[in-house]
């Protein structure tokens, strides 16, 4: 029996797992996908918001501001990439200017550091490509950008280093109260725990309904579509650019990414499906139209990819983080939509230090190591390190992905990490192979071969993304 089972290994579940691993306690994380962070954590704007936008007094406001600060520790401990872009909220009319002034008051109430209003001239000094329509801006200096999926990966790897267990491809089908524990059932296993934490993202409602008669919220999935510009546009803009927030949230943004790309989006459309996020011609057209209102001469000819993600929104304006009223050993961490990425480390602290410890005090584990052993990729090494790496392994000399400059040794390292890659997309998320101009046209076949060789599988046994989605269907050389 475990002390805790966490359902879901997105940014919220992995952060809670890592937070719990600071204590002498046993933890199991169950994930239905074949990797961490495959849904909302993978497909979002990647912004560490300052906290200027969520309404003062909400959990969103509190955890966003605190989480933004906590990312400084995560950067040092987990080596996650953070790009300190700063943010500019841009107003294009008298009316928007009034909203901007209110936003400034809200930001100050939330204790967001350094916010100030800027006139058009000062804005142009910071960001010379803002459109002619922009009249005023709110500077939010603590806005940064990270690579969200990697935050979840590293948090999970660090939690595993500190004793947390992780099972992937395990879909929870039932939760039952049995004596002093909760039984969590998957297709082939039953796991028991004293406390179950529901961090299932868009599936939080379905999970909660397994143990509650009346789930206190309804999940209302909201799709967001995005365009990605090639990393060679680096420097086109240097700040995260927001329009003035509207009824549907923060609007369509332009976001410089840690690897040099620029992300433009999202849209905001309610839909029924919890985990299917198609892009649409209308959505992508809307993004272009709205982005053009904020910034001039956007190089849309440099679009290399489009994608969509699902926000795990609920029918309330705030996160729902509380013990179940029907089953007190079941903790909801639901409705984690924007600014969920930013808030995640603060949410994790709140869940452990307030919700859990109020009922069950936990003892600190003196052996907890907050740091993770990271592997530096070849393109991030200096000349001396590159030479040393090559001397130790000649596969550092073989460039597999020339668009993003990824070597064969980099790929093998990512396959062999504790939470290593076992599909083409898992490798793409870790090593950026196929993230460039050719989108894998030149290198996918090499990724398949290297995965097969390193994992000791057949070429036809290598999945594209999800389990049982092989890239190659049949070996034409094999006798049939």
């Amino acid at each position: 029996m475990y002390d805790f089972i966490i359902i879901g290994a997105g940014i919220t579940g992995t952060m809670i797992a890592r937070e719990l691993s600071r204590y002498k306690t046993s933890v199991l994380v169950l994930e239905k996908e074949n990797d961490v962070g495959n849904h909302a954590t993978l497909a979002n704007s990647a912004i560490l918001h300052s906290g200027h936008d969520p309404k003062h007094g909400t959990m969103k406001a509190r955890f966003c501001v605190e989480g933004n600060r906590l990312y400084d520790d995560l950067e040092a401990e987990l080596g996650i990439p953070i790009l300190k872009t700063g943010g500019l909220v841009l107003a294009k009319s008298e009316e928007e200017t009034r909203i901007l002034k209110k936003l400034k008051k809200n930001a100050e109430a939330n204790k967001v550091p350094g916010v100030c209003l800027l006139g058009r001239e000062s804005l142009l000094e910071k960001e010379r490509r803002i459109s002619d329509a922009v009249v005023m801006g709110l500077e939010v200096p603590t806005t940064s950008v990270t690579y969200p999926w990697e935050v979840a990966l590293r948090a999970m790897e660090n939690a595993i280093d500190n004793g947390v267990e992780f099972e992937k491809n395990e879909t929870v089908r039932a939760i039952e109260r049995t004596g002093d524990s909760l039984s969590v059932k998957t297709r082939n296993h039953t796991y028991k725990a004293k406390t179950v934490i529901n961090a299932a993202g868009a599936f939080a409602g379905e999970i909660a309904a397994m143990i509650e008669d009346r789930v206190p919220y309804t999940v209302t999935p909201r799709r967001g579509e995005y365009l990605v510009l090639d990393r060679r546009v680096k420097g086109f803009i240097s700040h995260t650019l927001y329009p003035v927030p509207g009824r549907k949230g923060k609007g369509t943004l332009l976001v410089p990414q840690v690897h040099g790309n620029i992300l433009i989006g999202p849209t905001s459309v309610f839909q029924d499906a919890l985990d299917e996020a198609p892009t649409t011609a209308d959505g992508l057209a809307e993004i272009r139209r709205k982005a053009n209102k904020l910034v001039s001469d956007i190089p849309f000819d440099k679009v290399i990819r489009t994608f969509a993600g699902i926000r795990a929104s609920i029918d309330k304006k705030d996160f729902h983080i509380a013990r179940s009223k029907e089953e007190t050993d079941f903790i909801h961490v639901a409705g984690i939509d924007s600014p969920g990425l930013t808030a995640a480390p603060a949410i994790a602290k709140y869940v452990v230090e307030t919700i859990i410890m109020k009922k069950t005090p936990l003892e600190k584990d003196p052996g907890f190591n907050p740091k993770i052993k990271t592997v530096t990729m070849y393109h991030d090494m200096d000349a001396a390190a590159r030479n040393a790496a090559f001397q130790s392994d000649d596969r550092y000399g073989r460039v597999v992905c020339k668009c993003e400059m990824v070597t064969e040794a980099d790929l093998i390292n990512h396959i062999r990490r504790p939470l290593g890659a076992d599909s083409v997309k898992a490798l793409k998320k870790r090593a950026r192979i196929g993230s460039g101009l050719c989108q894998g046209g030149f290198c996918e076949h090499e990724a398949v071969r290297i995965l097969a060789e390193t994992l000791g599988k057949k070429m036809t046994g290598i999945d594209y993304y999800a389990k049982d989605t092989p890239v190659l269907l049949k070996d034409t050389k094999a006798p049939s």
């Binding site: 892009t279 990819r305 993304y465 190659l472």
Partner: protein
């Protein structure tokens, strides 16, 4: 630091020809190829139809490559295989090329001239922003060709192809022969993008339907591809209502265009032609950077490899002349502009001080024409006039300006097309 006279980047058809020409007169040449063998994409093009112009016989891709490789006989030619160029810079009059391989690690070498014969990459789903989900089963036609012809693996059982470019057409036939069911080829334009012979031999002969003026408007399937929706499009390129056709397929191949691949290593920048996506060159295939040459698909997309070879032989020869020249001679450039009815024309400029060789113009027309007159003009003055039949955008056309024609040294050249009535 190793020093060469000329470095040729890319060992496909273009690089083989450029290196061969560059290595004449005991000129030291380094040919760098990222793959394990020379020949580039020819190696995966196992169908025939290559070499009719250049070798006067019909060859398969690998046979064409073998012939080109056999012609590399100069002892001053050095070859690096499995080697990727990561940087190209020019300082004063020297080029610095950084490459990586398993034998030497990361190395920088230098040369007096450089030829880019890096070929092209395929336009992707992302670049054309196809709507729908992103499941397994969507790839470029060239990737599928590589899997089937080099690695020996099938990628699908029921297949739809978007784009009627030559690779897509060839793959429709190849996949059919390999046992898959190709349910159709869709083309956004009102005419096919590939060569007529490929439409006939790859689609008609196998009863594969071609849907002209159609595009993909939805892709369904969460983890693996389940269905693709095609819609007819109107004259403005918008999908027509109620024209949807649904295809239950496990694979969607994209053959939606090739783009010159000269941007995947860091360093040097040169003037580009937005019409071709490649460099802006003169008649010797010299780019805006003195001593840097570009040819083949790295310069503009060809339908026939024979012309890649011819063009690259000229580029290689020009690089050879460049490094043996004692001092930089003064040049005088005039621009070459695409006029009425012309999509693009190469070279984009001509050095009028260089009069020894005829100039071959390569161009594509904007629309299909049964019969037309081509006029190369300087202002009102017609330099060259030719009548041509059956001009079509998928087929690259050529026009040769003989040495005896004299050009005004100040007026830009324009290539016009006039449609002949009747």
């Amino acid at each position: 630091m190793s020093t060469y006279d000329i470095i040729v980047i890319g060992g496909g058809a273009g690089g083989l020809a450029a290196a061969q020409a560059a290595a004449a007169n005991k000129t030291s040449v380094l040919l760098i190829e990222k793959d394990a063998r020379l020949g580039g994409i020819l190696n995966q093009c196992i169908h025939n139809g290559f070499g009719l112009h250049h070798y006067r016989e019909e060859l398969t891709g690998p046979e064409y490559a073998e012939k080109a490789i056999d012609e590399l006989t100069d002892k001053t030619l050095n070859i690096r295989l499995n080697t990727t160029v990561t940087k190209l810079n020019k300082e004063e009059d020297r080029f610095f090329v950084t490459y990586m391989n398993k034998e030497e690690g990361e190395r920088t070498v230098t040369a007096g001239a450089c030829v880019l014969t890096t070929g092209s990459y395929e336009r992707t789903r992302g670049a054309i922003a196809l709507p729908g989900t992103r499941p397994r089963g969507i790839m470029t036609a060239g990737s599928a060709q590589r899997y089937i012809n080099i690695d020996g693996y099938m990628v699908g059982k029921r297949i739809l192809i978007l784009g009627s470019g030559d690779i897509g057409l060839i793959m429709a036939r190849r996949l059919t022969l390999e046992g898959a069911e190709v349910v159709g080829v869709a083309e956004l334009l009102p005419h096919a993008s590939g060569l007529t012979r490929n439409i006939v031999q790859c689609l008609h002969d196998f009863d594969i339907p071609l849907y002209l003026s159609h595009t993909v408007t939805d892709i369904k399937g969460k983890e693996t591809l389940e269905s693709v929706t095609l819609s007819a499009i109107d004259a403005k390129g918008r999908p027509k209502k109620d024209s949807e056709k649904h295809f239950d397929v496990d694979t969607l191949l994209l053959s939606v265009g090739l783009i010159p691949d000269t941007k995947t290593f860091d360093g040097i920048t040169f003037k580009e032609d937005p019409r071709t996506g490649g460099a802006y060159v003169d008649q010797h295939f010299e780019t805006s950077v003195s001593g840097l040459f570009a040819s083949g698909n790295a310069l503009h997309i060809h339908d026939l490899v024979d012309f890649v070879t011819e063009e690259s032989l000229i580029a290689g020869k020009a690089a050879n002349r460049y490094v043996h020249r004692l001092k930089n001679k003064k040049k005088n450039h005039i621009r070459v502009n695409p006029g009425e009815g012309i999509d693009y024309v190469l070279p984009q400029r001509i050095d009028t001080t260089s009069k020894k060789h005829p100039v071959t113009f390569s161009f594509r027309v904007k629309e299909e024409n049964a019969q037309a007159t081509l006029r190369l003009c300087q202002g009102e003055r017609v330099i060259l006039e030719k009548k041509r039949r059956f001009l079509t955008p998928p087929e690259m056309e050529r026009l040769i300006l003989p040495v005896k024609k004299t050009l005004d040294v100040e007026t830009p050249l324009t290539l016009h097309l006039e449609v002949d009535e009747g």
